[in-house]
Assembly symmetry: C2
Homo-oligomer: 121 residues x 2
DNA sequence: TGATTAGTTAACCATATGGTTAACTATAGC
DNA sequence: GCTATAGTTAACCATATGGTTAACTAATCA
């Protein structure tokens, strides 16, 4: 069951609501980076990046391995799973082929009508 | 090309970052509702709901048809599409079967290796 | 040991967010 | 026309967010 008050979901969506953080995630998709490497292309102070990293870490979207004085960050994309699943509940609203009736027809190949599908919450 | 600074993406993710707004979206998935009907189950004032509706409207996630003094709200789930696509770029990171190599193998049925896929940004 | 480097923490600031109550607009109904 | 209803707008408040600079901690290196 999808719980709309799930604080983890809230943290992930909120984290993704910031363009800088989406850019950080996009950079990390290319492989792990240190904080300085990560920060380099941004026109923003290191403390600002540090804060963004804390937010991403709090959402479980990145992990950190500390080696000496350098912090290596890695993408933990699995944290996006719940957010993706939440959004996908609604996919049938913009892709009619994926609606409940469509799924049913695809499976059974008959025209019997289904109840109007409701979304999990 | 996915643009991480896309303000529309920012509005959609930010809108979804609030549990009340996710609950509103979930309710509207069951069909259009007036503002009062929508607000009924929430322990929150009507103006608070009104604000949330404005945010959802600004993100393109709901539409409004005004009939007399009642406002009928409808889900516009298509606005979720860009957010879903953004997240799905990263699906291969938590579902190895959907990685670039996996897709390639599924299509060609051979074992030739591919370059490490990068994420669009 | 002393200087440099990596990164965080602290203190601060401006603005945004999420809520409230009170007042308002406008439609509906008697 | 008066009153009730649907909903917004305004004003306000507390806290969160996103940024800054300065100070700090700790590791590296000459």
């Amino acid at each position: 069951m999808v719980n709309y008050s799930d604080p983890q979901l809230t943290r992930v969506f909120s984290a993704m609501g910031d363009p800088t953080r989406r850019a950080i995630v996009a950079r990390l998709a290319g492989g792990g980076l240190t904080v300085s490497q990560l920060a380099a292309p941004f026109e923003m102070s290191l403390p600002a990046i540090s804060k963004h990293l804390r937010v991403l870490e709090g959402a479980g979207l990145i992990s950190r391995r500390i080696a000496g004085r350098t912090h290596h960050c890695n993408l933990e994309a699995a944290a996006m799973k719940s957010a993706t699943e939440w959004l996908e509940q609604y996919r049938r609203f913009w892709e009619p082929r994926l609606d409940v009736l469509g799924e049913y027809l695809a499976e059974t190949e008959n025209t019997e009508e289904l109840h109007d599908g409701e979304c999990k919450d």
